[in-house]
């Protein structure tokens, strides 16, 4: 079983991992809590047995050359690139050009970053190792990831690409990112995942947004057909901060994304957007939580998915409005299109509201392409295949067009086109 294997591997690997992190506590918490049980409501529709019953090793090795990297278009973007290969940070091939002393960029597990106050004040503060086995494993083993610290009034000049490439077999690699934006700061960060072979990537990203800061955060999952991904993005938002999160999932055999934001002050804008496309036997699960703790903030969520073949998807979106969060505006929409009889969609949009002066709504639909729309297009001389593609593409673009980084948006649009053509 994976649990026992990881616990024993930890003892051997411990010494090779960077110090200054509460790894022992994390592995102890993992030993107690283990992986989430099927009975856990948050994991009810998610079968993690292929991961937990598998024999994945946390012992990973890295060797990658520039030639291979250049095959990934994202590597060649006009951006800062942090390369993480099989859970190892590659300093040589990462492209970090940063002259601004108000911006700190690099590997999170660089000793000087671990020693910084920013790290001490924020690392592990927004995720709960004690209750979530995957996060506990990540905290125990992670030794690479992006560190973004943008000081007061500063801007991240170029978008940051965190390029995660996993090509080892039967491994579990852990990436840990930390993004801290001080007052009025700005950043655009994209996590890109590619994988080959059969492996698990387990990532955790913690984000702290101070007053009036703005973050564009993208997560693009282009994994190969045998890979598993479990990821948690946990955000803490302060007054008038703005978060724009876009999650695009279409790779991998199994994807579980947890995305949550604590809206801990007023005047906050929080946008969650996601698009997923599952075919063959792919399973894509998105769990989101917009947690309104204080008055007068705004959250808006749009997740859309297309399901084909034996593909299945879970969407679980929760809006929590706590007692003090009066004047909250919270909206959520989930749309699914089913293209085959064997595809399935499982949606659970939830509202939990404890304040009275709020405007909250959610909507969820599952259906198929409207035949009348097809007819409309066909009567204008567009072939049926083309018409279907056009409609599906428009459906997806509602989400994809929200990506602010133009080069990335174009890349994602091209990938969509490719996927809809096949």
């Amino acid at each position: 079983m994976l649990k026992e294997k990881l616990i024993s591997e930890y003892k051997e690997l411990e010494r090779s991992l960077s110090t200054g992190i509460a790894r022992d506590e994390a592995i102890a918490a993992f030993e107690r809590a283990g992986f989430p049980a099927k009975k856990n409501e948050e994991w009810r529709f998610t079968n993690i047995a292929p991961i937990t019953g598998g024999s994945f090793s946390a012992r990973t090795e890295s060797s990658i050359d520039k030639k291979k990297l250049e095959k990934y278009p994202e590597y060649n973007f006009d951006a800062t690139v942090i390369v993480i290969h099989n859970g190892h940070y590659n300093n040589e091939l990462s492209k970090i050009v940063n002259k601004d002393k108000n911006v700190i960029l690099g590997n999170l597990f660089d000793p000087k970053n671990i020693k910084s106050d920013t790290f001490k004040n924020n690392f592990g503060k927004s995720v709960n190792t004690a209750f979530d086995g995957f996060t506990a494993v990540n905290t125990s083993f992670a030794n690479a990831g992006a560190f973004v610290h943008v000081k007061k009034n500063a801007r991240l000049e170029k978008p940051l690409i965190v390029l995660n490439i996993n090509d080892s077999n039967d491994t579990i690699s852990n990436t840990r990112n930390l993004i801290v934006l001080e007052d009025n700061a700005y950043a655009d960060v994209s996590e890109i995942y590619y994988s080959e072979n059969k492996n698990v990537s387990n990532s955790v990203t913690e984000i702290f947004l101070s007053e009036n800061s703005e973050l564009h955060h993208n997560k693009i999952q282009n994994d190969g057909p045998d890979s598993y991904h479990v990821g948690t993005t946990s955000v803490h938002q302060e007054k008038s901060s703005r978060l724009f999160s876009n999650v695009i999932s279409w790779g991998g055999v199994f994807i579980r994304n947890n995305l949550n934001s604590l809206l801990g002050a007023s005047g906050i804008d929080c946008y969650f957007r996601g698009f997923y496309l599952a075919k063959d036997n792919q399973f894509i699960d998105n769990h989101t939580l917009a947690d309104h703790a204080m008055p007068a903030s705004h959250s808006n969520e749009l997740y859309r998915g297309i399901l084909n073949g034996n593909g299945s998807a879970v969407f679980n979106g929760k809006i929590m409005v706590r007692k003090d969060a009066q004047k909250t505006n919270a909206y959520q929409t989930n749309n699914n299109i089913l293209l085959s009889d064997d595809a399935s969609a499982n949606a659970k949009p939830q509202l939990e509201i404890f304040a009275d002066d709020v405007k909250c709504s959610h909507g969820a639909t599952t259906g198929q392409i409207d035949e009348e729309e097809i007819f409309y297009l066909r009567s204008r001389g567009i072939g049926e295949t083309e018409a279907r593609k056009l409609l599906l593409s428009a459906f997806a673009h509602q989400v994809i067009d929200e990506i602010a980084f133009t080069q990335l948006k174009e890349r994602v649009a091209a990938l969509l086109d490719e996927k809809l053509s096949s």
Partner: protein, 478 residues
Amino acid sequence: MNDDIILNKISGDYEWGFTTDIDMETLPKGLNEDVIKFISRKKNEPAFMLEWRLKAYKHWLTLEEPDWANIHHPPINYQDVIYYAAPKTEKKLNSLEELDPKIKETYEKLGIPLVEQQFLAGVAVDAVMDSVSVITTYREKLSDLGIIFCSISEAVKEHPELVKKYLGSVVPYSDNFFATLNSAVFSDGSFVYIPKGVRCPMELSTYFRINAANTGQFERTLIIADEGAYVSYLEGCTAPMRDENQLHAAVVELIALDNAEIKYSTVQNWYPGDKDGKGGIYNFVTKRGICGENAKISWTQVETGSAITWKYPSVILKGDNSIGEFYSVALTNNYQQADTGTKMIHIGKNTKSRIVSKGISAGFSQNSYRGLVRVGKNAVNARNFSQCDSLLMGDKCGAHTFPYFDIKNKKATVEHEATTSKIGEDIIFYCNQRGISEEDAVALIVNGYAKEVLNQLPMEFAVEAQKLLAISLEGSVG
């Protein structure tokens, strides 16, 4: 007329809180095989019934009380409940005059039209006082049409073949903790059978009433509409004021065979507990119907009572082209907790379902909608529309929505929308400007909000519901 229902709620105390002094034959507290044998013997049941009850009891012992609902209450001691109580007048009555005057008085206080029925002709009442059916009226008129409308204990004796065939066919004895408990100890309830092609000419109605202190009520209702039949059934409840929590675990099974239609309406107004959340009924109900081809089942409920409501009237859309509907108004005030909703299980082709749920929470109450829409692999062209709205009054209450969707067919269309809001100050201001006081304005708005559901209630019931709805929204407006 419907408009008055909620308007009438804007009044003080629980109007229907009184107890009747009638001699009760009561078993000691506790549950064991002997209790079940006693109940079965008391009712002169055939052997198959006792066997079924014991099977359920044995299964119940292996179950644990579910804890997934969004409700909180002190643990229930199932050995501290009286499982059988019956008024001693077991003799069959021929006319209303023979009825125990005390019971008659009770009904008069409740406004049940036993006396007024001459005027309200068209409503047949099978009044249930605690556990035994006291009087059944209009049976003869119905029996001319071949309609069977009697208590379930009578049905067990007189129509064992129907009971044997259908009892537990929609809610099996092993269904869930509370349904299993009910299967073991159910005391009485109603039985309706509408023969092929018959349209029941009147609304059938039963009034349930908890009377003996510490008596759990375990009602069992079984309604069968044979091919092409139609019936509209009304269920309403009031309960006397009590300090101790009373357990109520009912089961309702509806069977609509091909081309049949069943309309089931409920006004639930069990004692909700006092202003501090003391007392009140714990109401754990399993309601489910199954549709044959082209059949239709429609649930309408107005839930205003009970300290705890745990209730999910569901429809299994098994036959092609069948239709399921769920209309609900759930109002919680003070410390009430309601976790209610529906399940629509689409199995057949071209099945349709519609869910309209309106929650109103005030005071310190918690109101949850929990619903499931499942579209199976073969449910081609299944169609669902759900709307779940919540209205919040006051900042100490909560409104929650937990919808689940499980879609496995590409030709299905499922839509869901939910909103939560409070009554807009601009709307109140608009009313104020036109000389409508704040309280009246709120009543007006709440009425309009719930109208979509109230409109579904049959006329006869709306009159009754008007009296039954009596929890106050007063004071929660501000």
